[in-house]
Amino acid sequence: MTHPLDDHVRASLGAYVLGHLDPAEATAVRAHLDGCSACRAEAAALAPVAGMLPLADPARVGAPAEPGPPSDLLDEVLGRIERERYESRRGRRRSMGAMVAGVAAVLALVVVVAMMATDSPDPDVPSGEIVAMSASSSSVIGEAVIHEDPHSTWVELTATGLAEGETYAVWLEEAGTGARSPMGTFTGVEGDLYISLYSTLPRDRAASVGVSTPDGVTVMEGAIPPAS
């Protein structure tokens, strides 16, 4: 592919893009470039580099390099990462604490273990499956996150628009039987509500998750997709 003229012109391309060639040489290079796409591409690759040279201060290049960052900067970075990780865990614990206050009663066979999640050895919050809840009233919006535990199902529920002071029950509906397995009750609060509940009903037997009033009227419900 390369022929001798290419080699000769190539060696001049640096001087060419820097504008160092005398007019006759520059004309010869230009003539070659017109007919040689490989050399043209090479010149095009070098031109922006030549264009950057005026920005540099050559004295700075020769000067001793700026001393590096202080030796404790890495520790500060890692410290901030650690703090940020801790803060995100603590923020989570706080919202769960608020939830515990809202829970009015706990039914048999149902364990409300709000703090359990934060005590898990893995600092990263386990990701669950988001279930959109459809509500009976347009003012109610809710969403559940379903987590699978070995012998139970953990549900995190967020909702707004529920009546303040009203008692609500959370349940899982069993696939096939349609039986509602109660998870616990809570009292509606103004604003955002966050609830975390456990059920002994295994995740793969739960067909839906819902919230209802004590007299059994469903206020919101969402289908749980079949376990993969």
């Binding site: 070098l46 040279l53 960052p69 900067l73 500060e76």
Partner: protein, 182 residues
């Protein structure tokens, strides 16, 4: 880098820090003219790199390019917040800059380019750097440089060519991309 997989976790951050923090700090000092602010910038860049570590995709570029992209944003944020702007890189760039309207962002962009080309000049071999400094920055005739170095004039010329190629490679390693915003 040491960390496996695409996630830049804490271990990945340590490895990335030992490989690139020095350079990043150099760029930050060059841009912000203040070692304290530069420390702040580098620290923030690594924390953001950790925070968004799952967005790092090694198939799209090197860790270094990714870190520099983050650092650039951080430096801009700090410079904006403090209303400080980098000084023009050199006299030549003042001349060129004065030809048009120069925004503070342009100046930061120029500072980045200036730092990159200076860093690239530091990285290439001494023989290559020397011919660029003599012929380009000192504007000396090739014949004179050839005589001084005791090599044929043609060799000076081809050395200039290989020097520019080496500079380009060094720039690419630093995450420079070929579309300077100028």
């Amino acid at each position: 880098m040491a960390s496996a997989g695409s996630h830049l976790d804490e271990r990945g951050i340590r490895a990335a820090y030992s490989a690139h923090a020095g350079e990043m700090f150099g760029f930050a000092v060059r841009s912000l003219h203040d070692r304290g602010l530069a420390e702040e910038a580098v620290q923030e860049a690594f924390v953001r790199a950790w925070r968004f570590g799952d967005r790092f995709d090694p198939e799209l570029g090197t860790v270094r390019a990714w870190l520099f992209a983050i650092l650039r944003h951080v430096v801009i944020d700090i410079a904006r917040a403090r209303a400080i702007w980098p000084e023009p890189a050199s006299d030549a760039s003042i001349e060129r800059a004065s030809e048009g309207q120069v925004t503070p962002e342009d100046r930061l962009e120029q500072a980045l380019l200036a730092w990159q080309i200076e860093e690239a000049l530091r990285r290439i071999g001494e023989d290559h750097r020397r011919v660029v400094v003599e012929t380009y920055y000192r504007g000396r005739p090739y014949a004179e440089v050839a005589a001084e170095l005791g090599i044929p004039e043609g060799t000076v010329k081809s050395r200039v060519y290989y020097a520019l190629r080496a500079l380009r490679l060094a720039l690419e390693e630093m995450g420079w991309d070929d579309a300077p915003a100028r």
